[in-house]
Amino acid sequence: MLRTWEREAGRWNPDGLALLRIFTALFIGLLLVPPAKGGDPAWIASVPPDFFAPPPGPLSWLAGFPPADVVHALRVSAMLSLVAMGVGWGTRSASLLAGITLLALQGLQYTVGKVNHEMVLPLVPLVFAFSGWGARWSVDGLRSDRARAGSPPSSPIPSAVPVLALLIGFMMFTAAVPKLLGGWLDPRSQAVLGHLLNQRIAKGRDLLLSGPAAALDVPPFWELADWATVAFELGFLPAVLHPKWFRGFVAAAVFFHLSTLLMLNIAFLPNFAGYAVFLNWGALARRVRRLSGRVPAGAPNALQSPPAWFAAGVCAFLLPLTLPLPPLAAGDLTLPELAIVGGSALWLATLGARRLIGHITRIKKPVPATKTDTG
């Protein structure tokens, strides 16, 4: 399995890994530090003890809901460690601390007895802590030899990449198994439509295409949706064997999340921090280098720095999404969710269309005659 991933090592070269580190720090820090949907960050501290129902595991060792100061302290720690991770200062420790504090913040929200499945978010910094993503364009890199710091990857591809792929693939598999056992493939039942109706009735999630979809009384369509969901979630695990297949499933996941956002008003934005890992970061790094190379030599250093250009670009897109906007209408869907999920799907669709057009153009082009052809 690792060999097939090694063939694509260029996607995660040291420069690419550095951009991935910066992107992850900004994406999580600006939009996803729990609780990520606005409101009082320490809401859990105000809930009376009647509702304390921690899930089995370390949270059950708690005696009650945490004080607000604990939540605020964890949030500050998470933000500071993400900043350190982003600039590559003590990158390994900062990545580990970021992952642990994000995990703790998530866990505290679940002490009311409802576990959300957002584990991908802390997994990214935790898994990449040992990838060497702090080797370039970082304080660590500048400190020790100006090139060899932060434990550069010893193999052509950091094992963090296939490991994260395997973890995501496995988690998708765990989503499919209960569906198989629960009767999703039974032609007499329409599970997706049932959950859509339930989100509308029990949770008031009735925005965007929820209404028109609920009115779509076409059982074959919904049965197909049930089967497609199970097939998609099952297929993720074997797709780990080849990076191309896995990228295909990640792309499909973006459209899957778009459909759940439009119909069920659920976004699963934390997953996107994991999906972003599988972009072509090496190619992006080359582009950013070219862009920053156009700056005249006399310009300030910051303007000639590729990571500064990259960070500015990411901030230009993400910062407007951090404005304190209320959730859309009566639901709990937020503008960042809509922008990231919708934007990712639009970008992928454009990319796919361009490739398709390129492919068709190549097929139509006459093959030039060669000496062999002409004899």
Binding site: W43, G57, V112, G113, M171, T174, K179, G194, L197, K203
Partner: protein, 175 residues
């Protein structure tokens, strides 16, 4: 691939399988554990044929009348209206977890009543006497793209709702 990465991959897969087994056991005995490397299963199938089944939570608020026989009908509110500040993604799960083994004799603590009272005051006025959190099984008919009440079965009784937690107003006569 040399032996070491293969071994590591095997160990990782074994660990993932073991933790998934733990999720299954804990889920069957108590509740879904955390942390665990799993995604949501959405196991329950709620629409079979034309029958849609679910469970909803409502907050029922009783008010005083001129006499016991003239008491106005209770007001009903959704959890989102009453539990302000609790993220919607947690709310139904929170009520489900709190009342998993509850009986109708359960009452909310004074702290909980004081937490809920200001919001219920806003919704129902200060003259309310008691509130209960009600778990209602829903059984509806899905037909032509719409949810309709089920056809009544002769001789059947209505689906009972379960008042899972009752709370008295801390002081209905306060200014």
């Amino acid at each position: 691939m040399n032996r070491s990465p293969r071994l590591k991959t095997g160990l990782l897969l074994a660990a993932l399988a073991a933790q998934y087994a733990w999720v299954g056991v804990a889920g069957a005995l108590w509740a879904e554990p955390w942390p665990a490397l799993v995604f949501p299963g959405f196991k329950r199938v709620m629409l079979t044929g034309d029958r849609f089944e679910s469970t909803v939570y409502r907050i029922r608020v009783y008010r005083a009348g001129a006499s016991a026989s003239a008491a106005p009908p209770p007001l009903e509110f959704s959890p989102e209206e009453v539990f302000i500040g609790v993220p919607r993604s947690q709310l139904n799960g929170m009520l489900r977890a709190r009342f998993r083994n509850a009986t109708s004799a359960d009452t909310l603590s004074e702290a909980a009543v004081n937490w809920l009272a200001p919001r219920v005051d806003q919704l129902a006025g200060r003259g309310w006497l008691a509130l209960e959190i009600v778990e209602t099984p829903l059984s509806l008919r899905y037909e032509h793209g719409r949810l309709l009440p089920p056809d009544p079965i002769p001789g059947s009784t209505p689906v009972p709702t379960r008042a899972v937690a009752v709370a008295l107003h801390p002081d209905p006569h306060r200014p």
